[in-house]
Symmetry: D2
Subunit: 439 residues, 4 copies
């Protein structure tokens, strides 16, 4: 099987990355990209920059295989409910130490957040002061659109992408206002309570044809109304919830247990984290949003309905605890009760001492670069091939999401191979048998 | 791409599974298979019995896809340095409790080990009493061949396979005696010190055209001399070292870290175990054999030579400790020092409270069934597609082994698909995109 | 200093141990005492039976030093909301396996719970069926008193003690009805909503001069009304909440950190348990009772008000999670953030795979035997010297409770020494310098 | 019982603290004391500075109760096999970051080690270059004595103490040369191979009447020859091996288990550390010294000979692993197999992410200050009351060492109370009953 190489617009000019929410994750991303540009750091954890891909006869870095924007051509911007510049915000976040920030201080100080579209109802534990005033939510959306245009013009960007790096909003089910674009726009005019700030950013981005990624578990772009808008403007979207610490480990370990036909009786996951994200999630309504996102993972990997003897009685519990001493060092502890031959029980305990923003920052970079690539390649709507990065991947139509990180990676690789006209067959075989000729 | 279905001889008649070493692993296997036959247990952990495979349009169990021997058609036999019958040996091993063993007690008591080919030089911490006397090692090999023939005739088996379940022998590098079949046979006549008991079993099996699997890390069939013999008699071989607890976790977690381009600075692995295996490994010479087997794993997954920024400085240390209170409950603790964005360090700690024989038993079953399948399908020599089960997979020619368990599974699946004439292409795509049509 | 030996009535005749709540803890206790009497088990974990005490020149077992009831002279009785006999209840609880229970099966089957005084308002997640009917709570109390008298007469006991082994009731603060005995008795007549079932048992016991221990964290005897009654009838009382898994570890580790003047920034404690106790605590109102009991521990050990540089900013969080796969195997995970020289941070992680009822059963035995001793020695009111066994020790008057398990043990030992006329001084010195002459 | 206050010479003038071995521990100590003097840090982890003591009616800090040297009156000096000044050595050690060291940089740079008395036979993995040349070991000892006198004179010290902070030397049993002072001195003249460098420092110190503490597990002052010298010159000595991470936890947790009469079946302890200490211990001969020191701890707490049902079959194993990624962050993992009621097994796992030098530094300070106090109070010979700080406490005559950290603390407190004429009785009672009047 041979594939046709897709026509991709070159990555000429500057790419603006717009970040609603310029807290720990966003500032860590910005500091890192600036440091990499200065040559003082490596972009560890970024698949686009460090990862390789097996192609017919070679094994290049991904950034040398597909035409991505160069890190030197990126401009950062964004919005926040606090007016601190990006350097001050990074110091407050406490993720990076001063020594790391110092060499890029001036550049970071120059980046100042625009006033946020904010609604305290959606994030009770924050009290932002640097927020837009508005009459209707439509007015608010128009202000954001205006910000986007101004940023693009002032910075001389040829393309933009937007990645939501804000807090988790409170839980909401899909309502009527989210079902059609017309209904949604009426809701904007009517100040519908069920339109969250994140939706306003997404609406503004899509109106402007700016690809949008949702890094939190909120209902944001996974609704018919905004899918309709994305289709209308031919814009790529992706979501939701960056897959960082505990869920990352879960989508690594669960496929391994399943590969070996080992049964799972219970999986208990607890987290302690002390940053702003933890504070927000200390509110039960906000936690509910996160819990739904985190719980779906195992079922998708284990398919209990198809493997009832192994996974039919699995008890899965996820807890998040605000614990200030941890700061940004999100720590997880998992207890996994498995069973094997003759039903004998065994246990796996995993303690992951991770750093939330350190894990999330390179995901934001990769998502931004890949979304820009998608747009230049003419791909619009849900970019399911980016599931690799997301805790609750948004899928096309009614498809069940894939959570197995290894299958997600194959999906991502094959999409890239397809774009470049590589045969999926040969690529797959190469991937599978690596260094030997296929049997 | 379409494939041609391979001609496979049906699994008619009885399959004899011969086990050199009837201790914890072998007796756990036998008790389990007998219980499954009685309908009182499920063969958890066995891919052949519980696992599924994605084929064109379906998702059958593996045992319903390829023509494997039925569990009701299996006969067990073997050798051991102690004369206990299999029931007594299981009680001594302490893996299974009396309640589990009771329903299959009579059948287990009927299985008595033949006298072992043993050499205390290779396993210092055991002092077997139920051993063969011999003049030369050739004489010893002929006694084993005679045992094989007698067993086959008495039990009325149509086919046999042999799986080494004995202890780890002391470390040896490949020597001259191992380089040609002629040299090896001369060594047998000369009582060459570097011919270990496990080699004698392997030689006997291959002479008789009985597929041979090495479940321990010893140098056994991975030598030119026995490869030559396997080719001569058209017999499949595989090895080495069952991949159970800690290494299993390692080949699950390491590919996950690599998928995310996260760096690894150090990986410290310690084990405590209290069974006969632990006692044997308490001797430094025997541990050396195991250590070499366990250490190779990470390099193969991470390819530090190709990814020096991420894995070039990784420090990997593996320790095994004899700790009698643990009994067969082998427990591992891993500390993994990783680094991410801007080189910030993080840690993962994994404590696996496993049961060695519970994890190993289904591997023996699967390997036996797949080796029998391979033989009936006309496949001989190294069965690299069974790497999935092995800690230090033996490869064809000079190929680098694959340790990533997910790639190993794809290799195994594709081999089965190939045997049954399924297109690898479609299968791969189905595997990758699961529930959606291929993009 | 020499002490006067106290006059202690001999432990003649039988001691009845009455247990409101005959679930996991009570049945484990009973099975164990019966097994010890048969000589098939050792009373591990029981200080009265296995522990030693240093006296002037000797080191006897405690049971050989003070005149305790003999295990052969004990009769068990109790109440439960389910009508299962003690053997059936033990099987349901799943703490002990059948092999352990079998030798004492007949004796256990002979012990049947009386109908419980129950109020679903206090324990929402249980729906008991084996419960007393009543008009007023006074009527209910009189039924319990009648049960006590009948039991004593039928079993021919010379003395009784009662130990609450029931579930944790929902949280209540002290109210008016609990302030005086008269008010409490009026409340019984008026069916006051704030009189919980546990209080009714305690009232009945104290009326009858039966020593009462509260093994749960409920407000039960720690109220002026029942203290008044205890004083009136000269009856010893103690409480509350058996100190078993996580809190036990906490009161061991915290004094150690404090001994070394190491600072503590945070202490996060989580628990998973799957027994009836866990189910009850899954209700937020019941958990609240437990949380208050568990949180007080650290402050009492660290005295942050006196050591503000070390413990002034400590963040302490305790979580309990119902997790059915764990069964009675309550498991705790603690993360302790400490700091040392120059404020450098360190961490301690403790994973305690414990068994709730296995740890609790010997505490019930010891408390029963010591309470009987106290009564025979003429000690009444709060027995603060038994703090060793309790998570939230009830104290005399306004005294601050002692949580440091090592200080608690000294207090217990000294009380016993005092009873037997041993000099506290010499005892203390012996304790401190052990095998050498004092410097 | 009333005690007589001891006559103590006031702490007038300067106290010189001499440190053989100016690596991680010594430099961390010095940086910390300098920072505390500047008021920029608290002496966390130091009992003399932060700890309190209960006395008749009060609860003062220890430094306000007994007349200790003031931190402002301390002068530091020492010897090392590398010539780096203390600031450079601290940077190499990597314990403290530059930010912490910067304010005291100048003072640290001014402290330069004297040339070391070194013998590569005793520490194979180090190759020191800054070492004394000598003909006989007596000559070497005289050079050290000369260093001591010069230091005292140049710095104007009124008193000195010496604390061994060097590496662990290889294992040696007591030999003939160590049995009498005359024999030892003859050995010095004869260059006896069994006289280690640490013994030469100790000899020099004791000759000069300088109190000596051994912070490593070597055979140094615990030999008749040097005890004889200490008696002759009336000098206090103490040893051996600072009790820091894993052993500290062990002497905290073990007494807690014993207090509850819980049995112990096994205790497995492993360590990973990556500093110079770890490198030295990677040599089996040096590890042997450490292992002996670490293994003795549990027996002393549990007294298996007196409690055979609980501790008679305990299996204790200790491992130390050199693991460079850990640096000075020594990490321990303990698995403790305990059993309770009816012999049911339970487990405790403790992962201590500690920092070796951060824990050790305040111990050196306390030991130095207390040894100086002892000397001024006229106490000579083995200071057993300082067992609190030591992994393998040296005892008077044949006495069994006390390892229980809580009993050690009582011993230390009572010694201080005795020195100040406080009644031990009242003190003990106050300690035991804390806030209430004694019963």
């Amino acid at each position: 099987m041979t594939a046709q190489k897709v026509q991709i617009t070159p990555a000429a000019g500057k790419l603006g990355i717009l970040l609603p929410g310029m807290g720990a994750v966003a500032t860590t991303l910005i500091a890192g990209v600036l440091a990499v540009r200065k040559g003082t750091a490596q972009p560890i954890g970024s698949l686009t920059q460090m990862g390789k891909i097996r192609t017919s006869g070679a094994n290049p870095k991904i950034k040398d295989f597909v035409p991505l924007a160069d890190l030197h051509d990126i401009e950062f911007g964004g919005w926040d409910v606090y007016e601190d510049n990006v350097f001050e915000s990074a110091l407050n976040a406490g993720v990076l130490d001063y020594k790391t920030l110092k060499p890029v201080r001036a550049e970071m100080e120059a980046i100042k957040p625009m006033k946020a579209a904010f609604d305290p109802h959606y994030v009770k534990n924050l009290d932002g002061t640097h927020v837009k005033e508005y009459t209707t939510k439509l007015d608010l959306a128009e202000q954001v659109i205006n910000d986007i245009r101004t940023f693009k013009a002032e910075r001389g960007c040829s393309r933009l992408v937007m990645v939501w790096c804000g807090s988790t909003e409170i839980y909401h089910e899909l309502g009527d206002v989210h079902r059609t674009l017309a209904g949604f726009e009426q809701g904007l005019r009517d100040n519908a309570a069920t339109i969250a700030p994140s939706m306003i950013y997404a609406y503004a981005a899509l109106k402007e044809g700016v690809p949008f990624v949702n890094g939190a578990p909120n209902l944001t772009v996974d609704m018919p109304a905004l899918l309709e808008l994305a289709a209308l403007t031919g814009t790529p979207i992706a979501g939701k919830d960056f897959k960082t610490g505990q869920t990352l480990m879960k989508t690594i370990v669960a496929p391994g247990l399943q590969a070996r036909s080992l049964g799972v009786k219970g999986w208990f996951s607890t987290n302690i984290l002390g940053n702003r994200d933890g504070l927000v999630l200390d509110d039960p309504d906000n936690f509910k949003t996160k819990e739904v996102s985190k719980l779906s993972v195992l079922d998708s990997v284990f398919h209990p309905e198809e493997n009832p003897e192994l996974y039919g009685d699995m008890y899965h519990k996820v807890r998040i605890n605000y614990y200030p001493p941890a700061g940004d060092n999100k720590e997880s502890w998992d207890n996994i009760d498995i069973f094997g031959w003759l039903n004998y029980p065994m246990q796996i305990k995993i303690n992951f001492l991770c750093r939330d923003s350190i894990l999330a920052a390179p995901l934001v970079l990769d998502l931004a670069l890949f979304m820009d690539l998608a747009q230049r390649a003419g791909m619009s709507g849900v970019q399911e091939w980016l599931s690799f990065y997301l805790k609750a991947p948004q899928t096309v139509a009614e498809a069940r999401p894939e959570h197995d990180i290894f299958k997600q990676l194959v999906m991502l690789h094959n999409t890239l191979r397809g774009l470049m006209g590589e045969s999926l067959v040969e690529a797959a075989a190469a991937e599978e048998y690596q260094d030997e000729p296929a049997t």
